[in-house]
Amino acid sequence: MNELRVENITKSFKISKKQQKNSKSNVDRIVALQDFSASFKEGEIYGLLGPNGAGKTTALRIIASLIKADSGEIYFNDKNIYDEIYFYRKKVGFLTSELKLDDFFTPDYTFTYMSRLYGLSEEETKANKEKLFNRFGISAFKDVKIHDLSTGMKQKVSLAISLCNNPDVIIFDEPTNGLDIVASKDVEDYLLDLKKENKIIIISTHIFSIIEKLCDRVAIILKGKKVLEGELKEVTKDKSLDNVFFDLYYKEQGHEEY
């Protein structure tokens, strides 16, 4: 049984002189994430909720090993991920809804290329490709250059390629951002399918309905700090999720409860 755990991760970024000048501040570093801890289990969707700039993407990038935390540790099945980083990266799929494809290649070539970098055999690649391309209706367009695909199809291709390694841990930053309603429904359904396949799924969003529809547990992040975490039902109790969020948000801002 796979388990992922993060302990007290903190991350700050250096602010350039130009940014300091623009914000009229002398502070040369900004804390993007502070003392963030959480554990993620198989067959569960964990949601990070927060406004833009709260630190959600930073948290996901650190968990995905794309960037390193200043302090704190991440454990996959009780082993520090940086002890066996290439093994961990084989197990992780990091997705964003932003388009991240080279227009010049076809979906078929890009999928094969990425699968090779993940060290998958030709047979594994073929099987994964067939499964994902059929699931997202890409098969008919697999030999068309990405440049010539519709925006919706590009988004589906991007999603399929991000999952080419059949990852055990799926980290999805803003899963439906910029997607049309049909693609959004596809993604939501697919995340629920992956949950049934016992994957560890972590998503970030600022859309309450996504959390309510998909997540088993939720954490609210404000200004880099986790201010609330729990089972969705426990967190909301008799209130709606947006009420819970804005209570915390205005409290953080120093306003009266709304």
């Binding site: 990038r61 390193k68 093994f87 990091f94 390629i161």
Partner: protein, 405 residues
């Protein structure tokens, strides 16, 4: 290694199958050929034109008479020259003056004084040796002229080209195993000097323009599209990613550089305003030196371009860093024209040494004398390329450069 190969093959596919990229890679070579051919047509007319040689001009040739008994049994070279002039120029004439081998030095001064156009020195017992069947020993013919004289330059190139039609087993301007300069001119402003200024300037500009076309796309393009993050998420070492890209772009640039080199070589006869074969204008040694210099310089340019592409956050930013570099290179291409850079100390200055080496290969007849200079330049190119690859790989591990800027 497997990952480097995967990235290498993907990059090759990227560049070799896209028409825009192919144009950026191979057009410079074609442009070099066309521009130099045209330049030859127009520029040589200013320096050694047949059109500017007056009608009824008599070419004055002085030659050693160790192979002839009288004017009526002139050597084959002169028979061919007479035939050529009779057929193509009609009104012009030739006048031969024969001297002994002992008088050669004295007549070199006469060439400098413009009393004669070309001095032809046949090796002792030339006649016996050149027609001796089965002999492996090559017989030497030396030609001397004054490069500041248009008529002399034209006649020299004409005689050079006629040598191949006249003899087979010969060498040109070889003395004790070393090449000697045919141009006796003491004036600086000769055709070859002009070319030694123009060729490095245009060649380096075109080679660097290839780098500007392909390097920003390689890493900064991936950053801009957001595909770099996907690559960095894969279980490959970041140094593998850097090496895969660098090796592919170096190969791509090398093919581009080879086309540029061929464009340069095949345009030389036009550039020098002669029908002479390329081998007469440039020796095999010069070719090898130029090729070696161009290849190592290109690798240096590519690694420099990749370092900048890795540092920049967008294609536009990478381009804006590379353009001033090209300007610096173009300025450095002009420096050897004003300053004598033949001192080996200059070979240790990166980038500038490329221009000065190219300049020396074109102007220096005694190629053996510039081997150390070229060796230093090539070594500096390789050392700096290695250093730049190392820095690029380091940058791949710097998340501030890769993501946050």
């Amino acid at each position: 290694m497997k990952n480097i190969k995967t990235i290498f093959l993907k990059e090759l596919k990227r560049y070799f199958t896209e028409p825009r990229m192919l144009a950026a890679l191979y057009l410079p070579g074609i442009i070099i050929f066309l521009v130099y051919s045209l330049m030859g047509k127009f520029v040589t007319s200013a320096f050694s034109p047949t059109s500017q040689i007056p009608q009824d001009y008599t070419y004055r040739i002085v030659a050693t008479n160790n192979n002839v008994t009288s004017d009526s049994t002139a050597p084959l070279l002169f028979e061919n020259l007479n035939q050529y002039i009779a057929l193509s120029e009609k009104t012009n004439k030739t006048d031969y003056h024969y001297i002994s081998l002992d008088e050669v030095d004295e007549y070199k001064d006469a060439i400098k004084d413009h009393q004669y156009d070309v001095l032809v020195v046949f090796e002792d017992k030339f006649d016996e040796s050149i027609y001796q069947e089965g002999s492996e020993k090559k017989v030497n013919i030396s030609l001397f002229y004054d490069g500041s004289s248009q008529n002399a330059t034209y006649l020299y190139t004409l005689l050079s080209s006629l040598l191949t039609e006249s003899y087979t087993n010969y060498t040109v301007n070889l003395e004790n195993g070393a090449f000697i300069d045919a141009n006796l001119s003491t004036e600086n402003y000769t055709f070859k000097n002009v070319m030694s200024f123009v060729i490095p300037l245009v060649t380096i500009s075109l080679l660097f323009s290839t780098v500007i076309s392909i390097c920003p796309e390689a890493i900064a393009g991936e950053k801009e599209r957001g595909t770099l993050a996907s690559l960095l998420m894969t279980p490959i070492k970041r140094s593998e990613l850097a090496l895969g890209k660098i090796s592919a772009l170096t190969l791509i640039s090398l093919t581009s550089g080879t086309v540029s080199f061929l464009g340069l070589i095949f345009s030389l006869p036009s550039l020098y305003g002669t029908d002479a074969s390329i081998g007469i204008i440039f020796s095999a040694g010069s070719f090898i030196m130029l090729l070696l210099l161009m290849i190592t310089s290109l690798i240096l340019f590519v690694t420099l371009g990749l370092l900048i592409s890795t540092f920049a956050k967008s294609i536009k930013e990478a381009g804006s860093y590379l353009t001033p570099l090209m300007t610096i290179l173009m300025i450095s291409a002009v420096i050897p024209f004003a300053i004598d850079m033949s001192n080996i100390g200059f070979a240790f200055i990166p980038l500038l040494n490329i221009v000065s080496s190219m300049n020396l290969i074109i102007t220096e007849s005694n190629l053996a004398s510039i081997v150390p200079y070229l060796a230093v330049t090539v070594s500096i190119n390789i050392i700096f390329s290695g250093l730049l690859v190392f820095l690029s790989a380091k940058m791949f591990n710097n998340e501030n450069i890769m993501f946050q800027r």
